[in-house]
Symmetry: C2
């Protein structure tokens, strides 16, 4: 699709009108809408009154779809708490195909490697539009190859919550995988054979979708107790299936600290920077992910806090068993868990009342009255590529193909007082610091430092942090100097060739368009 | 105010248009809107985006009011979880008077004996309209005496949740008393010196009000943990005051089983009827209140369940320490607590994860996807008066003056499979069974039985229940026969004289008008 574009505040060409998607405002700076007079209208849509019924349990998932009134052209959603163990997305899409329902907008909180079926469903016309945080595998190749007629919409986790609440993402039917569910639809992720921990994404979909179907392989006696993630009054139907997924694939990334020397070095430097910033003190708050050097950073933080008897305030984000251990050791007062990254978390969530489940609006919606990321002290984030303006790409690979997820990256970077990007200086001989990243997900204005094993680049906006890092003896380098050093080893790779065709939009957390994804030639 | 009226389905004259309040539909039967094609639109209103801020704590409550943008003519709300210990309503109204803010619509979840200040504020023009579940004391006399220019709107707890969610009750600023609150507005009722248990009403106000101020006398370190009733992302400001109320007055009604022989006899008969109904079996659910014969009924139920090793499903409603004990004994799987009736409950709520806090939409909003009352087995309810059509008045006293509360009465009666009204046959020599109650709150169609110490009247719609009761040897009487027996002792009291002027509307849970309150001459 050829679409007229304008240049946004970071120089990216973005559309203001996309046929089939509507009008958009160009990105104008990470805090422009927050600090201006922008007013928003959270929206719910007209609903048929739910007659008193104890008959929520449908005879089958197919029957539930039929009773929901779902029609061709509507929008359906899923959560991605089952991660690569999810089997519900494909199960529902195959049923829709069978039922002759077509032209669906698919709007899951994210997609992963297990969702190759979506590419097939696009070819068959069952799915025609996609809203998601991330895509991988076949689906990414289909998008980057221009197989969708309407550009795909990529949103951050906080941005998706905002879009749902303001009604720009209007979900007709939400299919919510429920590891334990009772006959009236109370459900939780913290028990059952497919327990996956927090249901933070499902909680928002359940509140705003017109029709909500809890799909479970574990119908428990009424009432589900003691943990209810989504209460019955938000659920229209319960459908029982043999399996909602493979619990062994719920864990994402490493659950043990890496032994890779490059990643350990990055972690050591990242920790050194955090310590030098002076933010690791009583009452500090912290987010780090599950993969790469993240757990290694967490290990350094843990040891440091123990040695100095520091008691932090809270950890948020994708929560790992490692974080649950830190909570148990009293290093933090609480965990706010919007999604759980490994199986160890499930036990903690079920048994430790200080391990608190939060919905994704609480976690990161920038427009509500104070999401958690906005008060965060330190976040450690990974990246696919970064550039000389500190912009971060977590979506497109070196070949230009979509294979990542926006996630909470731009949300936490904008909210945290210190945002640290950890990235190996090169991957398979390709340098990670580019002149200009292919796709901006997180604007450089919200990134404080980029840490590689060859040195730390600090955003010129943060002279205070640069001084502190130098005082601590850390290897601080100008980003162009660091880039040049790396390129001496790798050379400068050829640019990927793109057509002008826009195949995807990257929406910033506030609803403006920060970048586009172009078709790969 | 003289207003044109029409006759509704139970023969009451009700208005379809009230200047200053808008248009209304007459009551057409308890399930008319639920079973028909009525569609509703849950509404949220446009909001200024909340800029990231760690400065939610206002310098004073007055400053918080100023920053909220509250103006004359707007609507403010409060919860009544502090019951007769509440001091926040009067504190805020006196501040509004001082600040010159007038013509306010006051929309608390309920008012009690401690709120005589409201009558003064009506005289002074600070408050001009009132939406509430209940009124007592001075305020009731002011309403019944015609001191409000616009009729007062009385709603049930479920109906208020519905009205807020559909936007017919649009709250500009909610002032929510918070027994424990942190600097970003996370708050709970289950700890602190004024702990009051569940925050079920506050939870809905917080989600839908344009501006939310948590008012606390107990600012705790961030983050509040482990119990959060209302999360920070719904709260705009935190105001710290010396006291939000008197915790010794939070308990309502009796916390010990009555020794009054009349009440014990009523309880015995009510229990006999419940047992005869066959509903006291594994998986049963139950609601009873705190006062009068309620705890005595609960005691019979407790003993019976223990003897027979019956394990029930859940208890709901105003939760007493007695119910918490039954939970601890394993007689029920869970408590769903929308409001707590005595101090013993606070400990249970804090420590027992099976004692679950629910919001009032979950409890009783008839329009959502399945509130708790709609699946309830047995409810035992009190009354001020009943009539030969089984209609129940819980609002007006024998003198015609408003002195009661709609509460969850009509919600539970409509939802429960067995609704039992317990009432002494006479009070101070005045009979309790009237030809026609002054004010219908709960329509007779939803009442199964009326239990007095002189016998049980069973609704002719429940022939099955009548047979079961007779088989159990219970003193079942035709309601007119029972009425006549009582009148033989008491005589028939003179009718109270009313003018035609409408001073209040009684809204049924579905938003239709079931009755009016008239000015007392």
């Amino acid at each position: 699709m050829k679409i007229e574009t304008v240049k946004n505040s970071i120089g990216r060409e973005v559309p203001v009108l996309v046929p089939g998607l509507g009008e958009f405002a160009p990105f104008a700076g990470p805090y422009a809408r927050l600090e201006g007079d922008y007013a928003w209208t959270p929206r719910l849509f007209p609903r048929k009154v739910a007659a008193p019924s104890t008959d929520k349990v449908a005879e089958s998932l197919e029957e539930a779809i039929r009773r929901s009134g779902l029609e061709s052209g509507m929008t359906i959603s899923f959560h991605h708490h089952m991660r690569n163990g999810d089997s519900l997305v494909c199960r529902v899409l195959f049923l829709l195909e069978k039922m002759g329902i077509r032209n669906i907008t698919l709007a899951p909180s994210s997609l992963g490697d297990c969702h190759d079926c979506v590419a097939e469903m696009v070819r068959k016309g069952v799915v025609s539009r996609l809203n998601t945080s991330g895509v991988r595998g076949e689906v990414g190749r289909a998008i980057s190859g221009g197989k969708f007629e309407v550009p795909v919409m990529i949103r951050s986790h906080g941005g998706r919550a905002r879009a749902i609440e303001e009604g720009s993402l209007h979900i007709h039917a939400a299919f919510l995988a429920a590891p334990a569910c009772d006959r009236l639809g109370n459900f939780t992720g913290s028990s059952g054979k497919t327990a996956c921990g927090s249901m933070g994404y499902a909680m928002v979909d359940a509140r705003y979708a017109d029709h909500v179907i809890a799909v479970t392989d574990n119908l428990v006696e009424y009432p589900l107790a003691p943990r209810i993630s989504v209460p019955q009054y938000l659920v229209d139907q319960v459908a029982v299936v043999d399996s909602i997924g493979d619990p062994s694939k719920i864990a994402t990334g490493a659950t043990r600290v890496t032994r890779d020397p490059v990643q350990l070095r990055i972690a050591e430097l990242a920790f050194g920077l955090i310590r030098a910033s002076g933010m690791l003190k009583n009452g500090c708050s912290f987010q780090t992910g599950g993969g790469g050097p993240s757990l290694a950073v967490a290990r350094y933080v843990r040891e440091y806090m123990k040695e100095r008897s520091i008691r932090g305030s809270y950890c948020i984000g994708g929560i790992t068993g490692y974080m649950a251990d830190m909570l148990r050791e009293g290093l933090f007062t609480a965990l706010f868990d919007v999604q759980s990254f490994d199986a160890a978390v499930t036990t903690s969530m079920a048994d430790n009342p200080y391990h608190m489940e939060v919905d994704v609006s609480c976690y990161a919606n920038p427009f509500n009255k104070g999401c958690l990321v906005n008060d965060l002290d330190v976040v450690v984030l990974a990246a696919l590529d970064v550039d000389a303006d500190f912009n971060v790409d977590v979506l497109t690979g070196h070949d230009g193909i979509l294979r990542g997820a926006s996630g909470g990256h731009s949300d936490t970077a904008a909210g945290a007082k210190l945002s640290v990007i950890t990235i190996p200086s090169m991957r398979n001989g390709v340098p990670s610091i580019r002149e200009r990243v292919q796709t901006v997900v997180t604007p450089g204005e919200t990134v404080d430092a980029i840490v590689t094993e060859r040195g730390i680049a600090i955003n010129p906006r943060r002279e205070d942090l640069r001084s502190a890092a130098l005082d601590a003896g850390l290897p601080v380098k100008d980003i162009r100097q660091l880039k040049a050093e790396i390129e001496k080893i790798t050379g400068i790779p050829d640019e990927v060739k793109f057509s002008g065709e826009i195949v995807g939009l990257v929406e910033y957390r506030d609803g403006t368009i920060i970048d586009t994804i172009r078709k790969v030639l």
